[in-house]
Symmetry: D2
Subunit: 153 residues, 4 copies
């Protein structure tokens, strides 16, 4: 399944390994149980299965957990298009919570809208998997900044 | 210490107990180790001590954890001004990450800018406690919606 | 040409006339030379031809003029789905300026993402027409509130 | 009157002349009748007197005109802190409309929250002058990017 709208050309042929390595070094992602899904040029998915520990007072996945995976999917979507010695930083984002995070699994999908040497703009939406159907829960726009000459490690 | 800029009059005299009760029913807050600080009319603090489990790949508190407490501080700041039978929902927010979440403790401070019957707008900033000094890491604007006739439980 | 992603069912069969009437009563739209394009359920275009009076110091259409038409396209996209006695209000929006407003004409396209009884969320992007091609200049997410029992006039 | 919260040290002693010169070269500001007010390091005001041509269908100043001056106040607040050969660009902003733009004059106040070599974050609020009192109508957070080696002209 290909999620990217535009055919982006990665500068680093090893972009996927770089994304997966970076993701694996984030203790918070392991702590909440998030994992990477599809990783393509300009498009990354982050999956988060339901766990009671992640919920708010009404039993739905906490908005903060949804924001966390939306942020990560956006950051790594931008990261796929960078050169091997360039790191990425979240500048800002705005998100709307459209529906509660109710379902077996939450899937954040980050798609690069506008890559850039300095700044990359990404749409990152979160879907709840409910009975096999994906329902959009969060929509967001995110701005990321490239940090040249800084390895991610 | 009083954080609220404007002297808001709470409709519910038991607003603080209501906020603390609701907060205590959020499993995700306990899971990340967040706790409530000051709770005043139109002003709420959420504290998050540093834990390695909450970090990203560079050893700082993850942006998603910062967003989580910013969101909660905003939501409960709005909640303090509602009547006893009105619940609150996060509609949307935008946040800028100004500096990394580096410090012994993160403190989110939500201050109501504009209360309303339907919508409440809140400024919610996150500070990192570094050597006794508070350094602003995140600034955000959040929109919350009141849900009349719905208890929080 | 149909812009709406989802097949929205209008509550008011005269939605288009209502949108065009409301638009025509906005002096600021006439003042900057904006006009309505396509008006469909959940989708509205606002067009703004280049004029030197609308530019900033580098000769491009001012970001404020782009925001103005993005805001209007979003508001009227939401308005198409409301009942005849319900008015609409912009609550908030966030926009990213991706490229300068350079071209013969700017076209804002508002598409409803999530309709609602109280709140409607809309994606509204602005494109510059450059040599017959549409180039995205602005992307935005907007939140609108329905005001029941208030005519627009 | 000093609006800046923090004591910012300008890199260019002629910052005010540079701001006023740049502002005067924006045809859209003249077209809507906006003018500069206070210009201090990290703080700029833009004033917009009421004119019927600037209104929406309910007789209030159009949200797009409010966004325009909020954007300009933010951009020039950031501009005051830049070196003489550095230009400024709006990356993105998010604004909430708190109250209608109703009054004799609208005053946008941009205050730098976090200056930076690449990015500057600014709070920019718009007040309506109603019977001598300032009422907040718009609150916004804006991100600006410095463009080194580019004169503004």
């Amino acid at each position: 399944m290909t999620g990217a709208a535009a055919p982006f050309e990665p500068q680093n042929p090893d972009f996927e390994a770089r994304v997966r390595d970076s993701f694996s070094r984030q203790p918070f992602m392991a702590y909440i149980g998030a994992s990477l899904g599809v990783v393509e040029p300009g498009y990354v998915e982050v999956h988060l299965p339901y766990r009671k520990a992640l919920t708010q007072q009404h039993g739905f996945i906490h908005g903060g957990a949804l924001a966390t995976i939306a942020d990560n999917a956006a950051g790594y979507a931008a990261f796929t298009l960078l050169a091997a010695d360039v790191s990425i930083l979240t500048v800002e984002y705005k998100l709307n919570i459209l529906r509660p995070g109710q379902g077996d699994k939450m899937i954040a999908k980050g798609k690069v809208v506008k890559p850039g040497r300095n700044l990359t703009v990404v749409d990152s939406d979160v879907y709840a998997l409910r009975g096999g159907e994906e329902v959009m829960c969060v929509t967001s726009i995110q701005t990321l900044m490239a940090l040249p000459g800084r390895a991610d490690q």
